[in-house]
């Protein structure tokens, strides 16, 4: 078996909160990410799901190098991305890129699309005009736009086209890993389908690996190979998409699935309750079913292990 493309081991991110004396003694810490480990294989789509504040974006930012982890290691092709000997941002940019949620906010309104796409190429030492032109032309075609449209400015495009440009911008340096942060949640339903189809086509064509962050589980089911469910900084369940969607064992995963406004379930009221009736539900760690209390994020959770319930399907259980 080949080494995974990206390997994250025991990642911790803590943020200092107000208070504490001089030199930070007794300072309160917010434990945003607690011991998250996962690996991403070449050509795979791994999704991290969970609600706002569960640490999924912080995890992704750590991988992009935009958030320094407090502890833990992130390896890309076996090379550490953090600590001494870590690659510079320039080197990292060739490995990992990101597609943002809001295509309106993530493009520079004063630069034509061509300028936005050419800048990273120039920074990475590609200065021949013909090569820059060629690569821009190729990437525009790949995302379903015409090369001539690169002369326009972001405001001249619709939301869906802007997201295509966001994807082009992420792919121009030919990274192997693309972090997708809620790539379609800001788009209309009809446009959403086009972007999802495009992302899947590009993944196949270019052999990309996706790390997708989302709370829309119907999109996650459609796109992912593996799924990581996060709850207050911890991975509470992980497995292949089939295991997560057909035999979810953690109560929080079931709540997330039940929360999707799904027309089929809404129109046949019995289907949803019966769906997982035969599958054993395990008591989830730090999880209260009615959602009335949330875990304390200011103290570090007690160490615990993910328990294997089936091949490639692990769940974190309540400590007894």
């Amino acid at each position: 078996m080949t080494a995974p493309l990206l390997q994250v081991d025991d990642l911790h991110v803590r943020f200092p909160i107000s208070g504490g004396g001089l030199l930070g003694a007794g300072r309160r810490m917010l434990h945003a990410v607690n011991g998250v480990s996962f690996s991403l294989a070449k050509g795979e789509c791994l999704s991290i799901v969970g609600e706002s504040g569960c640490g999924k974006s912080t995890t992704a930012l750590s991988i992009l190098g935009l958030q320094e982890p407090t502890a833990g290691t992130i390896r890309y092709r076996g090379q550490p991305l953090t600590g001494p000997g870590a690659p510079s941002r320039m080197q990292r940019a060739k490995a990992v890129q990101m597609v943002f949620q809001d295509p309106y906010a993530s493009l520079n309104p004063r630069q034509s699309v061509r300028t936005s796409l050419a800048a990273p190429l120039r920074l990475h030492g590609i200065t021949a005009a013909s090569e820059i032109e060629g690569r821009i032309e190729a990437i525009m075609k790949n995302v379903g736009l015409t090369p001539e449209q690169a002369r326009r400015y972001p405001h001249e495009f619709s939301g869906g086209q802007r997201q295509r440009i966001g994807i082009a911008r992420a792919l121009i340096l030919e990274p192997e890993i693309v972090v997708l942060d809620e790539p379609v949640s800001a788009l209309d339903v009809s446009i959403r389908a086009q972007i999802i189809n495009l992302l899947l086509d590009l993944q196949e064509k270019l052999g990309l690996s996706y790390l997708m962050i989302s709370h829309d589980l119907s999109v996650v089911e459609h796109m992912s190979d593996r799924v990581l469910v996060m709850y207050f900084g911890e991975v509470v369940e992980e497995g292949g998409w089939r295991a997560i969607f057909e035999t979810p064992a953690h109560p929080y995963t079931r709540r997330l699935i039940a929360a999707i406004p799904d027309p089929d379930a809404a129109l046949s009221p019995h289907a949803r309750e019966d769906r997982f009736a035969d599958i054993p539900l395990l008591a989830g760690r730090r999880f209260v079913a009615d959602g009335s209390t949330a875990p304390d994020v200011f103290t570090a959770p007690a160490p615990s292990e993910l328990v294997e319930v089936a091949g490639d399907h692990r769940v974190r259980l309540a400590s007894v």
Partner: protein, 303 residues
């Protein structure tokens, strides 16, 4: 058969361009909402669903103007109503909740005071009585510790709590019609599910009719009895929710339904490409030529 609560007839609305020219935004939109019924309007951005709701609320601003048709609320044409009377209806008999609760709430006033204001303005209560009622209203939308929360400013609350405050304000005077314009789009899925359940239960308990606007077909299906599909300012298809989902007749509706990733369909059928609306509809300009409006079943559609 009972009379409809809201009866929109041939509503035409547009952007004024100079003296007499007008760019049309709504082209002869007609639909009815029965007392206590939840009616959904779906469509993409720019299809005219939000301007329809603003027209009902009488909140259209220049250069938007109604150019024809009638909006009958309990038999009275809202478009012909004097401003004073419209103000009396708005917030009292017809209430609205918006997509972004942070911009809809006043940041400089406590949420308790903002809810209490409804009782003072519309029911002539004193501020003292109104405050007690406001705390009760917060309890009804299941805000934990309502006495303490009433003293909060909007920025001290999460998105889900703010939307609950909006619902408490909207339902304060027991309106006959609640207009909800994408009320859960800005929320997390789990919070969205709670807020939807709340709207559904509270309106069912009080007999409040709902005009629910969304681009999310799943949300519409979970809350509405009848659905109208809007495209480019026209109501292109209208039917009971189940019938619309099981047997969509308009190309556009079919496209919308096919574009939706459905939970469980990948386990059953494997991963299939989502329908690209543009690939099944050759000429979008022809889309509004045909319309499929299924007449209301005289008995069956009553909730």
């Amino acid at each position: 058969m009972t009379a409809p609560l809201l009866d929109i007839r041939d509503l035409r609305l547009g952007v004024s361009l100079g003296r007499s020219a007008q760019h049309p935004l709504l082209k002869n939109v007609s639909f009815q909402i029965m007392p206590g019924e939840a009616y959904g309007l779906v469509g993409e951005s720019g299809s005219g669903k939000s301007v329809t709701s603003l027209a009902v609320m009488g909140l259209l601003k220049k250069p938007l103007a109604v150019s024809g048709g009638e909006i009958l609320f309990k038999g009275k044409n809202l478009l012909a109503l004097p401003k004073r009377e419209m103000r009396r209806l708005r917030g009292n008999r017809i209430a609205m909740i918006f997509q972004e609760p942070m911009t809809a709430l006043n940041p400089l006033s406590t949420v308790g005071r903002q809810i209490a204001e409804m009782f003072v303005l519309h029911q002539g209560k004193s501020w003292g009585e109104a405050h007690t009622l406001a705390v009760e209203a917060l309890g009804n939308v299941r805000v934990p510790n309502p006495d303490r929360r009433a003293k909060n400013y909007p920025h001290q609350m999460s998105g889900g709590l703010r939307q609950r405050v909006m619902i408490a304000m909207a339902l304060a005077c027991n309106p006959d019609l609640l207009i909800a314009d994408e009320p859960t789009t800005a929320l997390d899925v789990t919070v969205q599910a709670e807020v939807l359940r709340l709207i559904k239960e509270l309106c069912a308990a009080r007999g409040t009719a709902v005009l629910f606007i969304s681009h999310d077909l799943g949300v519409i299906a979970s809350i509405c009895q009848r659905v109208g599909v809007m495209y480019a300012g026209c109501l292109v298809e209208e039917n009971e929710t189940r019938a619309l989902f099981e047997n969509p007749r308009h190309d556009y509706t079919r496209g919308l339904l096919g574009a939706l990733p459905r939970l469980g369909s990948r386990s059953e059928h494997g991963r299939q490409r989502l329908v690209d609306i543009d690939s099944i509809i050759a000429d979008r300009s022809k889309l509004t030529e045909t319309r499929f409006i299924t007449p209301r079943d005289a008995q069956g559609s009553q909730p």
